[in-house]
């Protein structure tokens, strides 16, 4: 394209991205089929098609490097699909690294860069090596008497599949099927699925116009090890005519069949292969048009803007409520009642709108899980460990922005699990575990949160080793260490610098520790917990809010100011009588159900000045915030109530102030600050560690 507009380029890039994602899924399926014994030719062909389409797109949009890589991959996949090369694990490795190479090229293209990418150059070199070693086995020359008319319409790939099947002495059949045009996609898919049990559908050719303008007849060319009667029994229906094509005879659809023909009454009570009869659907011209325009791509920033508008409407709603309140107080009861009714209706619609926008932002976690499946495979191979990945809940949906940020933390947790968790094969045999280690990735929704578990059946965390290291690094006094319970010990793995292994290795040692994972999850408003049984395994659980756009918050008053504390961090709230606290190591604490809870007076930590005429309350409240296994009680004046808030970033001048995650509008045109509980917990608990150190040291 001579002068691609930005929009066209954006569309090209997102389409390319989608194709790469499809390719990635496809390769994983292919990997599974190779492990099960044989590469599914259909999957190889789909991979070829994906790369082929990318090549075409790259050419049109002047993406040279993308085009070059696609061209080379296309050659490789062409050799594979035409049987000139076998799909060895090394070849599959190269294909998997192509997915990553594409991701980098697309990221560069997005930034408008055309620099060479080392990973891509390396991949091209590997493709060179593969090409040199390709045996170059040509398709066997034709021993079969195939109709030239048929060969003319088969693609090279279809011709190869036909020969491959004939070489295995399979029978050849023609299925003439009448489909309703409106439902052909699904009906054909269903038929193909059922046909799979018996063999392979090599191609389908339109046979010409059918009995009605809304229908079409296709000739399906199928190779099968089963005989005609079996096929008729399994695939036959009102709209399906099956016949056998004698081996050394013409198989062209245009020539009248001489083989046995079977048309039998529909068998399995209205199977979907039977189309809706033409007359029933002909009045509705909708489906065909709709199918062309089912989805639109939307920049997520546009959704953010819409969400901001919803936030502003929520403020209007609050003002309406107060206006109604004021009217009632002034004796305008009827008007007030009318206004309240309007307010309620407005409230409902606004909630629907909010829910609608949120729904659009949701994407299934499967997107990130697929990437992880590739990582598991790769690391497993690097480490020589056999790993089985079990995924549940891939359909669980979460905010698009959260998904983007989840990939790195999850990847690190999985690296850890494979490297530190899963034992070597010999050790596993010794303790009576199956040689293949299992990593389970589970996701599910729980209320307004999404839970993601990464679970392994490895050796579990060695508590003693963790404590020993924490003491050695000076994170903990030996005395304190002796008092820690199992849960507290496990929580130590989230401290900076803690890793139970001494060496920095290629797999999990890339300078990223569980502390970074925890910080990243915290940034998403999430928390992470760990459970581990020695010898049995480790389970890390991430709890995330479903969306970042709207947060349920507890509104509180401190020294005449209103603040919002995100509910995702609040575990409970309780009242605190004056004098209900005691001092422990110079710090104010209370005893809560038998455990000691450190307190922090928000007024002090946020350095608030109490306005004149606002004396400190006799009775305070404590909001217990918990992050992972750390808990802190925030002492404040009043609990105002729960409210859904839209968090807006602080202006640049305030962005360096610690302790606040953002601002939100309170509804009476005042702005409230949103407490960053993670930062306060970090700061307060770190201070107390410093102060306490001399006491023990």
């Amino acid at each position: 394209m001579a002068d691609p507009t930005d929009k066209a380029r954006d569309e090209f890039l997102s389409e390319a991205q989608e194709i790469v994602e499809t390719l990635s899924r496809n390769l994983l399926d292919l990997d599974t089929s190779v492990r099960a014994g044989s590469a599914d030719p259909g999957l190889v062909n789909e991979a070829f098609r994906a790369v082929h389409t990318l090549k075409g797109l790259a050419g049109l949009f002047g993406a040279g490097r993308l085009g070059h890589l696609s061209h080379r991959l296309e050659d490789l996949l062409d050799d594979l699909r035409l049987g000139r090369m076998t799909l060895a694990p090394e070849v599959l490795d190269v294909l998997f690294s192509a997915v990553d190479a594409y991701a980098r090229l697309l990221a560069m293209a997005r930034e408008g860069s055309d620099e060479p990418v080392p990973a891509v150059e390396e991949l091209l070199a590997r493709l060179d090596t593969l090409a040199q070693h390709a045996p170059g086995k040509a398709s066997p020359s034709s021993d079969y008497d195939l109709d030239p008319g048929l060969l003319a319409v088969l693609t090279e790939y279809e011709e190869h599949r036909l020969r491959a099947n004939l070489e295995q002495k399979l029978g050849l059949y023609r299925l003439r099927v009448e489909f309703d045009l409106a439902t052909i996609d699904k009906a054909l898919e269903d038929l193909k699925e059922r046909a799979k049990r018996h063999g392979e559908i090599i191609t389908y050719l339109p046979a010409g116009e059918a009995t009605s303008p809304d229908a079409i007849e296709l000739d399906l060319l199928m190779a099968s090890r089963d005989d005609l009667a079996t096929l008729i029994g399994s695939l036959g229906a009102d709209n399906v005519v099956i016949e056998e094509l004698p081996r050394r005879r013409s198989v062209a659809g245009s020539i009248a069949p001489r083989g046995t023909t079977g048309r039998i009454p529909q068998q399995q009570g209205g199977e979907s292969a039977a189309p809706v009869r033409a007359g029933e659907a002909s009045l509705d011209q909708g489906p065909s048009l709709r199918s062309l325009t089912q989805t639109v791509r939307v920049d997520i920033r546009k959704l953010d803007n819409l969400m901001n508008v919803v936030g502003e409407l929520a403020i209007v709603r609050g003002m309406l409520a107060r206006l109604a309140e004021r009217l009632r107080a002034e004796g305008e009861r009827r008007t007030a009642a009318d206004l309240l009714r309007l307010h309620r209706s407005f409230d409902r619609r606004l909630a629907e709108m909010q829910a609608g926008i949120l729904e659009v932002r949701m994407v299934p976690l499967g997107q990130v899980f697929e990437r992880l499946a590739r990582v598991v495979r790769q690391i497993g191979r690097e480490m020589g460990k056999d790993i089985r990945l079990v995924i549940t809940g891939a359909e669980t949906e979460i905010d698009k922005l959260i998904v983007e940020e989840l990939s790195d933390p999850l990847m690190h947790m999985i690296r850890n699990a494979i490297d530190h968790g899963i034992e070597a094969a010999a050790r596993r045999l010794e303790v009576g575990k199956p040689i293949a280690g299992t990593i389970a990735l589970n996701a599910y929704q729980k209320g307004n949160h999404v839970m993601i578990e990464v679970e392994d059946d490895g050796r579990g965390i060695d508590g003693d080793a963790v404590v020993e290291k924490a003491v050695r690094l000076g994170k903990l006094s030996a005395e304190d260490a002796s008092e820690l319970g199992r849960e507290e010990i496990l929580a130590l793995v989230f401290l900076p610098g803690l890793s139970t292994r001494g060496t920095v290795d290629d797999v999990s040692g890339r300078g990223v520790g569980m502390d970074i994972v925890k910080t990243n999850i915290g940034r998403l408003g999430g928390i992470i917990d760990v459970q581990s049984e020695p010898g049995i395994g480790t389970k890390m659980t991430i709890t995330l809010p479903i969306t970042l756009a709207i947060v349920s918050a507890l509104m509180v008053d401190v020294a005449g100011h209103t603040f919002a504390i995100p509910l995702s961090t609040v575990s409970e709230a309780l009242s605190l009588d004056a004098g209900g606290t005691r001092l422990l190591d110079g710090r104010e604490v209370i005893t809560l159900r038998g455990t000691t809870l450190p307190l922090c007076r928000l007024e002090r930590v946020l350095k608030l000045t109490r306005p004149p005429g606002q004396p400190a309350a006799h009775r305070n409240y404590v909001v217990v915030v918990s992050l992972g296994n750390r808990r802190l009680g925030l002492v404040l004046d009043h609990l105002v109530g729960q409210q859904d808030i839209v968090i807006k970033p602080l202006g640049r001048s305030l962005s360096t102030v610690r302790g606040f995650a953002g601002a939100t509008e309170l509804g009476d045109q005042r702005v409230g600050l949103v407490i960053d509980a993670a930062a306060i917990v970090d700061e307060v608990l770190a201070q107390s560690e410093h102060r306490e150190a001399p006491v023990h040291g």
């Binding site: 001579a2 066209a8 389409e15 075409g56 049109l60 996609d185 054909l188 050719l205 339109p206 116009e209």
Partner: protein, 132 residues
Amino acid sequence: MPRILIVEDSASTRAFVRTTLEAESGVPAVEVSEAASGFDALRLLPRGPYDLVISDINMPDINGLELVQFMRKSEQHKNTPILLISTQSSERDRLRGLRLGADGYLAKPFGAAALMNDVARLLSGRGSERDG
């Protein structure tokens, strides 16, 4: 106003062809319909007649060659000019397409000028590659 049907599974390629057709064919322009797959094309064809069908070869359901074959067997579409566009720039594919009844073959990547050249030729009813 000439009616053109684009059959192509890649959305950005469809957009490119449409934009080129609309921008380059002057006023009055052409009326462009898009099909995202071979099956979509089969559904749209009865709303014809179209003056030109521009089709990709490599598509997931029925491919461009099969679409050509279908149209040539059909009373309504047997004379509609068909331009195949494909990345498979091998002589074998070109010949296969023309033998089945396509009127032109354009290898991707192609520029706006090459596309418009073929489109103008086929819309004017002059020379199909088949005949010459």
